[in-house]
């Protein structure tokens, strides 16, 4: 640990490691020094001059955001000179700033508004003409209103440094300076909205949210993003059962301040006009709206009948329904229907990994590890949080990141070593980096779907042979891909049919599909099969169904999900959508209709059962209840790999696509970069 330096701030003694900035040292003892441009984790600017403090023996006020602590330094933040300086800075800032807080989109959560309130300059002596510039639309998502900008450059830095996208810059000089986008008059970027979220004022606003509400009119519900497997927390702003905003201002999740376009803006699929809001039953060959009781009765009747005659069931679960739902579904299948034909769409071979190591990395590890190796994934496009974490680790701790990929990836900007390989040749590429990797003190290996079965075992053997501590992440695609595997949505060993086998079985009597769309690209061989589908939308699979039950999305229910790194986190219901029900509730209703007892179909009760019966899931409840993440422990002894490794195939999602849900998000499809590939 660095040496401790002793100083006093406002008369209070402080000890801080050498190199700490005075503004941070002050925060540690509860002395708030105001700042616009200072932002922890980003490069220093010293541009806003709000953070000026008095330092004994210094001839003038000093910017505390760039001032390292020094032994015996005496700092004061509460003197008349400091207060006067703050007031005058705000007065300067307001000269060109519109004073229309009541109609500004940022009103109520604007840092400038707060500063005026706290530090004064409520009255301006400015009576000249203000500079006027028209508002600009950088993209369907990003709008920029130059006069409101305080030129703190947070947006530029988060984009350049945080994301590595470099889509924003500063153009013009002096008072005409403004933020400029990378394509002249528009942006081509990740459309992640980090710039909007980080903007302290109403200069950057979101095309998705702006001018719809005041922040205090919303409820803010922290839940887990339902798109990819990275497991970001997103805070949904909800008013009258409508989600108006997604953001992450409280930074309480494993993702800190990070969110990609999906987590921040793609929630709108929830309100799609195409949402199913009533059950459908096939009558005379046509799907027709019916009541829940009629639909449930039809399902129960069929299930009971087929079970009674020993018919053949096929059950396909989802990789974005909750652990509780997945657990309950497989229990339903195994215990009530007596079938082992259970599966889900597998997007990575996590099963084999769990079978050969217990050493699994968390998202926090990605930020602290000294070195990381990315195998077979375009991380910034497919696993944006992990890419963000690794980059932050490199920026803050000089972590070394190595890549073995087919083509160029964004990590090339800073990677310490790379190997370009054909798909399938990844292990050879990894081998080429051996000497460099061996010299590292520790390593996290992240690998995509190109590494399956035997290759996973070889990769772990490679890791073991390095003689350093190695942890692994198997890159999966959807919000609960990992949970689906963990909860047992896999064929019963020795006889259960896999997903493709179910589709190919001509004698299948019932196919029950929950939150999946296997018929998008596949075909069902059994013409006569009775198909039950639970989904949000009338997907290709739902069109083939005999009964369609409208399901609630992750944002409408509670329960837990497990990210690719095995971190279990809780969902919180943010709203209700008329007509749709959580899948767990639907399972309970079907069971009741069939007259069978599978236990209480309530998330809390099922989670308790999971904690007691699923290996590794005995995670601490308080952590999860409080909104934290708890990593599911790897099983004590390696488990036998369930199912077949060769079925693992990534969904090839990019920043702008995500299976069915992504198709129904207007936000995701409105940006020019959609549907991915156009842009790197």
């Amino acid at each position: 640990m660095a040496d401790l330096v002793r100083l006093t701030i406002d008369g209070k003694p402080v000890e801080a490691p050498a190199g700490t900035l005075v503004i941070e040292a002050a925060r540690c003892i509860g002395v708030e020094i105001p700042a616009f441009c200072y932002y922890p984790g980003l490069s220093l600017q010293a541009a806003c001059r709000m953070c000026l403090v008095e330092v004994e023996r210094a001839p003038k006020l000093l910017a505390s955001c760039t001032l390292p602590v020094a032994e015996n330094m005496v700092v004061r933040t509460d003197t008349p000179a400091v207060k006067q300086a703050r007031r005058s800075m705000i007065e300067f800032l307001l000269t060109n700033h519109p004073l229309d807080c009541p109609v500004c989109d940022k009103g109520g959560e604007c840092e400038l508004q707060d500063m005026v309130f706290r530090y004064g300059a409520g009255e301006s002596r400015f009576s000249e003409v203000k500079q006027h510039v028209e508002e600009k639309r950088f993209s369907p998502i990003v709008f920029f209103d130059a006069p409101r900008c305080v030129l703190c450059y947070r947006c530029v830095r988060i984009c350049n440094e945080g994301l590595g996208v470099r889509a924003l810059g500063i153009v013009n000089r002096g008072v005409a300076s403004e933020i400029g986008p990378n394509r002249g008059d528009r942006l081509e970027c990740d459309e992640c909205g980090a710039c909007i979220d980080i903007c302290p004022v109403g200069a950057l606003t979101s095309g998705i949210y702006r001018y719809q509400t005041r922040p205090w009119e919303m409820q803010h519900v922290g839940t887990i993003c339902t798109f990819c497997a990275n497991g970001c927390k997103t805070t949904l702003g909800v008013r009258n059962h409508r989600i108006i905003r997604g953001n992450n201002r409280d930074r309480s999740g494993i993702n800190g301040e990070f969110l990609c376009i999906k987590g921040r803006y793609a929630f709108d699929f929830v309100h799609s006009e195409e949402r199913l809001q009533t059950p459908l039953l096939r009558v005379n060959g046509e799907l027709q709206p019916v009541s829940w009781s009629r639909a449930l009765a039809a399902v129960a009747e069929k299930f009971t009948e087929v079970k009674a005659r020993g018919g053949k069931f096929g059950v396909i679960g989802s990789n974005h329904t909750t652990n509780e739902e997945n657990y309950f579904l497989q229990k339903f299948a195994r215990q009530a229907l007596g079938t082992g034909n259970i599966d889900h769409q597998r997007t990575g071979d996590v099963a084999t990994l769990l079978g050969c190591t217990r050493s699994l990395a968390t998202v926090a590890d990605l930020y602290s590890t000294k070195a990381a190796l990315v195998v077979g994934s375009d991380l910034a496009q497919q696993h944006p949080l992990y890419a963000f974490q690794l980059r932050a680790n490199w920026r803050h701790h000089q972590a070394r990141v190595y890549t073995v990929t087919e083509g160029p990836v964004r990590e090339d900007q800073y990677s310490a070593g790379r190997a370009r390989v054909q798909r399938g040749e990844e292990l050879a590429g990894v081998e080429r980096l051996r000497e460099q990797l061996k010299a590292e003190p520790e390593l996290v290996i992240l690998f995509g779907d190109a590494i399956q079965g035997e290759a996973v075992r070889k990769l772990v053997a490679f890791g073991d042979s390095l003689g350093i501590p190695v942890k692994y992440v198997c890159l999966l695609d959807y919000s609960n891909s990992r949970g689906a595997a963990d909860m047992g949505l896999t064929p019963e060993p020795g006889g259960g049919l896999t997903l493709p086998e179910m589709l190919a079985a001509w004698d299948l009597d019932v196919l029950w599909v929950v939150g999946a769309n296997p018929l998008k690209n596949g075909e069902l061989a059994a013409d006569g099969a009775f198909v039950v589908v639970q989904d949000l939308f009338l997907t290709e699979t739902a069109r083939r169904a005999d009964v369609v039950l409208p399901a609630a999305s992750a944002y409408e229910k509670s329960g837990t999900v497990t990210s690719a790194t095995g971190e279990v986190q809780a969902l919180r219901a943010a709203l209700k959508v008329m007509g749709a029900k959580p899948d767990l509730e639907i399972f309970g209703l079907i069971a009741r209709e069939m007259g069978i007892d599978l236990g209480v179909a309530m998330p809390e009760a099922v989670f308790e059962e999971i904690r007691q019966t699923v290996r590794g899931y005995n995670v601490p409840l308080p952590v999860i209840a409080a909104g934290g993440a708890a990593q599911a422990l790897a099983p004590e002894a390696p488990v036998a790999a369930a199912g077949r490794a060769d079925l693992a195939e990534s969904a090839r999602n990019t920043l702008f696509t995500s299976g069915t849900l992504g198709r129904y998000s207007k936000a995701l499809n409105s940006v020019e970069e959609a549907p991915g590939g156009l842009y790197r």
């Binding site: 010293a46 806003c48 001059r49 760039t66 800075m89 300067f92 500079q131 002096g174 008072v175």
Partner: protein
């Protein structure tokens, strides 16, 4: 190339070759004791060279007057990184036009100064940053550099000494702020002219983040004479702690405007009357800006003083860059203030709040005031805003705008008040900001 008659009162050290036939050529340079200082330096240890410069009491001619020898001594000797000499030829301070003459008339003197600095700190290359408008000077410098290479004064194994030193010119493209040393380095590295956070100072992390000596053209042009004739001889020309001569640029309402090399400490009134031939048109002296527009103004009654850094500082102004602007009794301080503020507003890089917003507010206020729409309260406000900028901006450009403003209002308040009763006009009728 001389644009004004020399004065008999001049002491010609740096300008001794001005006006010689073919003064830009290496032959002329060598024929007039050129490279003798460098040859002496080759025999000396780096500390000795720095010692000689320290003894000369040479202070930076770019404006701040920092002792050159001391600056050189801050360059870490042991650093494994390459070191650089960067010459500040941005010459943007209003009232200043001397570096231009030094390059135009005697480019080899600058090269020799750089070579000596390189020996003193162990530098491998040098960059001469010249403002973009001075394209013809860049051409002259480029020719001189090429000639020096050809004749073995640059490049490898210079004069058989084993020393290697390369020199390049680098053009600016229109920005006063790029004269500020850290903004200059940013510009040199291909970026916007926004200053850097300091520390680290250029001596430790300058050009390309390597240890760097950054000096004004005139500062380095004084070095060959110091090494040739000894630091003591140079020091003796000036006043205590203010060694040598400097090029004073006399402009404004004066009979014989021009650039004159005079000893440090030369009396300002004498400079105006005897060197500059007195205030023009037989008018009385109203005030003087002693060192470029960034310096607080001196009323006529304050002008009987020795022009060295310390004496002018004691008079609460600055010797600055040597731009002496003379104002006659008819000069409108309101017009002057308006024009000066327009300049700083135009040149503010926009990085920090108080400079960006302060200069803009002041400019708008002054232009309105100047157009005849002022109030008494505006006068207090001007001073107040300037004081709110002073010492709080990211770089000294904010101070450069604030200090003169404060002095105008403090020293000529009556004139601002009177202006309220006058019909507006004068040479600055416009009130738009078209920057």
């Amino acid at each position: 190339m001389l644009y004004n008659q020399p004065s008999p009162l001049e002491v010609k050290v740096l300008t001794r070759r001005f006006g010689l036939p073919d003064s830009q050529s290496l032959d002329t340079y060598l024929a007039t004791e050129g490279f003798q200082g460098f040859r002496r330096a080759l025999e000396m240890k780096p500390e000795e060279i720095i010692g000689e410069v320290m003894a000369s009491n040479l202070r930076g001619r770019g404006g701040a007057g920092f002792p050159a020898g001391m600056k050189w001594s801050f360059v870490p000797r042991a650093s494994s990184k390459p070191k650089y000499i960067v010459v500040n030829g941005d010459e943007g301070e209003p009232g200043t036009c001397k570096d231009r003459l030094l390059i135009e008339n005697d480019p080899h003197q600058l090269i020799e100064g750089m070579l000596i600095a390189a020996l003193a700190v162990g530098a491998a290359a040098g960059y001469i940053y010249i403002r973009g408008e001075y394209r013809r000077l860049i051409e002259i410098m480029d020719r001189a550099i090429a000639e020096a290479y050809r004749k073995g004064y640059l490049g490898e194994n210079i004069l058989g000494s084993g020393l290697r030193f390369d020199v390049y010119t680098h053009s600016g493209a229109g920005s006063y702020e790029c004269g500020e040393e850290s903004a200059l380095l940013e510009s040199l590295e291909g970026r916007r002219g926004v200053p850097r956070i300091r520390p680290p100072f250029p001596a430790v992390a300058g050009a390309f983040q390597c240890p760097t000596v950054l000096n004004n053209v005139e500062t380095l042009c004084a070095v060959p004479a110091i090494l040739r004739d000894g630091g003591a001889a140079f020091a003796a020309l000036g006043t205590p702690k203010n060694g040598g001569t400097r090029l004073f640029c006399l402009s404004g309402h004066i009979n014989k405007p021009g650039v004159y090399e005079l000893p440090m400490g030369f009396n300002l009134l004498r400079m105006i009357d005897e060197v500059g031939g007195g205030v023009w048109k037989g008018k009385k002296l109203k005030a003087v800006i002693p060192g470029g527009s960034s310096c607080p103004i001196l009323k006529a009654s304050e002008c009987d003083l020795a022009m060295d850094f310390d004496t002018v500082a004691k008079a609460r102004s600055m010797l600055g860059s040597g731009g002496v602007v003379v104002l006659d009794e008819d000069t409108s301080i309101v017009s002057l203030a308006t024009r000066v503020m327009r300049f700083y507003q135009h040149e503010s890089c926009g990085w920090c709040v108080p400079c960006r917003e302060g200069t803009t507010w002041l400019r708008k206020l002054l232009e309105r005031f100047h157009a005849g729409h002022g109030t008494l309260a505006d006068i207090d406000l001007m001073g107040d805003l300037a004081r709110n900028m002073l010492g709080r901006t990211f770089c000294p450009l904010g101070d450069a705008a604030a200090m003169p403003m404060i002095s105008y209002v403090e020293k000529f308040r009556g004139e601002f008040e009177e202006y309220l009763n006058r019909t507006p006009g004068g040479p600055l009728g416009r009130v738009t900001i078209d920057g």
